[in-house]
């Protein structure tokens, strides 16, 4: 089995050290300033300020309805934020500012330019069920990047192999498990060689025993230095892999910090209350920061 991604191959702790050796002096790859969004009367996001550096892994946590998914989807302009600015690699995402300082929708080409650096993985996988795993991965390579089919299939097989699914290339999604489908979805995004991967609750729709294989792939990506923003309920994953954990509640960032700041040292009452639910269910993995000490 060509699965090179088992979590035991390299300890996450070692990788975090490696990452922290060279502090990044380059400007942030994602920059959000004063981002806000409302659905009618309801303020879903307010005054979000967030920077993500190259190779940084940011986990967004918070109760449901806290706006974490909306925030992540805004970073791909799948939700239109209506206040503030989001810059991806210095490019304003989704909007254009005209001469009079008013914002209007950016054209499709501009939006696609900004999105070109992004890969996004959804809770519901969103694979195209009428295409094989291979077809799902090659589609955009052939039709967007205009790569020859044989070339595209070669590249697709490489990424499918990376997520451990080379032997399932010819299967339709209906014949794959949820975990396998999600790994194909990750491969589909990776094939476009994005600089940033956005994950919107990638394991929330999975049976518990399938969560691990998807997290393992994500962990491997983090180790390889991929910039990642992850909305997740997997506190163990956040504790192990994140450089920064951001806690949202009611559309605002309540607090943020390193995993140990957020999971161990926080005094914030709302965050403590939120985390207590997980502690009660013993939902942390074995290597929580508590056990590392």
């Amino acid at each position: 089995m060509p699965l090179s991604l088992s979590p035991s191959t390299s300890t996450p702790a070692a990788s975090l050290e490696a990452k922290q050796k060279g502090p990044d002096k380059t400007p942030p790859i994602i920059h959000l300033s004063a981002v806000g969004k409302r659905f009618g009367d309801h303020q879903v996001l307010s005054d979000i300020n967030l920077s993500v550096n190259h190779s940084e892994v940011v986990c967004l946590i918070g109760p449901s309805g806290s706006g974490k998914s909306t925030l992540l989807r805004s970073m791909a302009f799948l939700e239109e934020y209506d206040e503030g600015e989001i810059h991806i690699e210095g490019r304003l995402l989704g909007w254009e500012i005209d001469d009079r300082g008013r914002r209007k929708h950016a054209g499709r080409t501009r939006l696609n330019q900004a999105r070109r650096n992004l890969g996004i993985v959804f809770q519901q996988f969103n694979l195209w069920p009428h295409m094989t795993a291979l077809g799902n991965v090659t589609e955009a390579l052939v039709r967007v990047r205009r790569i020859k089919r044989s070339e595209a299939e070669k590249r697709a097989m490489e990424v499918l192999d990376k997520v451990g699914l080379a032997e399932k290339a010819k299967e339709y999604p209906a014949r794959l498990s949820g975990g396998q489908q999600q790994r194909v979805a990750i491969a589909r995004a990776l094939a476009m060689e994005p600089k940033i991967m956005l994950f919107d609750e990638p394991t929330s729709a999975l049976d518990p025993e399938l969560v691990g294989e998807v997290l393992a792939v994500m962990k491997q990506l983090a180790l390889e230095g991929m910039t990642m923003v992850v909305v997740t309920h997997e506190m163990g994953f956040a504790a192990q892999v994140a450089d920064t954990v951001v806690f949202l509640d009611q559309g605002s960032i309540v607090t943020r910090g390193t995993p140990s700041d957020v999971f161990r040292d926080t005094q914030h009452p709302r965050l403590r209350q939120f985390l207590q639910n997980y502690l009660d269910r013993n939902a942390f993995w074995h290597t929580t920061p508590e056990q590392e000490t």
Binding site: A76, L78, R108, N112, R115, R116, L118, G119, I120, F122, Q124, N126, L127, W128, P129, H130, M131, E139, A140, R143, V144, Y172, A174, R175, A185, R188, A189, M192
Partner: protein, 220 residues
């Protein structure tokens, strides 16, 4: 009662030609109707609000008009506007026009059935709207809307009988013509029924075969 099928064999050539005219008007009209229907549905999906409303009104208007009236309007009303069409051409166009709105509604329901997330995923990968429609939505819709389309096709097949009113030499016109001239109503009507039944049976079978074929990817 007399029952004499020799009247059929004596007119076999004329009946065969009429059969071909029926098939031609039916299939050509349906094909145009399908294309127009897809166009209307796509415009309703991607066009702006005003266009959506306009098309909505158009659909309601056409749906609210009997086929016969549409036929009269085009064939007998057309010349007042300088549109003079041959009977067969007028017949084909009327079937296309009439069916386009029904097909549009079928396509619209199909578009709505493909989960939005699949489009979001494609959008983020840089696929354009037309590419998504052609590559993601249509192939999946087909499985869902095929029964409705086959159903509509069988209705249209029988609707071609109405074309006899504007002198299209199709099955109904020719066979009832023979019947009235020779007083052989039972024989001619029997052949008429069998001919339509045959066409519809073939359509249903092709439809079921297609359903199985396009649906293979759904099998676990």
């Amino acid at each position: 009662m007399t029952f004499d099928l020799s009247i059929i064999t004596a007119n076999a050539d004329a009946i065969w030609n009429a059969f071909l005219v029926t098939i031609y008007t039916w299939l050509a009209g349906s094909l145009l109707g399908l294309m127009a229907g897809l166009l209307i549905a796509a415009l309703m999906l991607f066009g702006g609000r005003p266009l959506q409303r306009l098309l909505r009104v158009f659909i309601e208007l056409v749906r609210g008009t009997p086929f016969l009236v549409i036929l009269f309007l085009v064939y007998y009303g057309g010349p007042s506007f300088g549109v003079r069409l041959g009977a067969i051409t007028a017949g084909v166009l009327c079937i296309a026009f009439y069916s386009s709105v029904y097909f549009a509604e079928i396509f619209r329901s199909g578009f709505a059935a493909v989960p939005r997330g699949q489009l979001e995923a494609g959008e983020c990968l840089g696929l354009g709207r037309l590419q998504l429609m052609w590559r993601v939505q249509l192939p999946q819709m087909l499985v869902l809307i095929l029964p409705a389309i086959v159903n509509m096709l069988t209705i249209l097949c029988k609707e071609t009988a109405v074309l006899s009113i504007i002198t299209v030499p199709e099955l109904t016109a020719v066979l009832t013509g023979i019947g009235t001239r020779t007083f052989t109503f039972i024989e001619t009507l029997l052949v008429l029924c069998i001919a339509y039944l045959l066409l519809i049976e073939v359509t249903s079978r092709v439809g079921r075969w297609l359903e199985r074929r396009v649906g293979t990817y759904l099998q676990r």
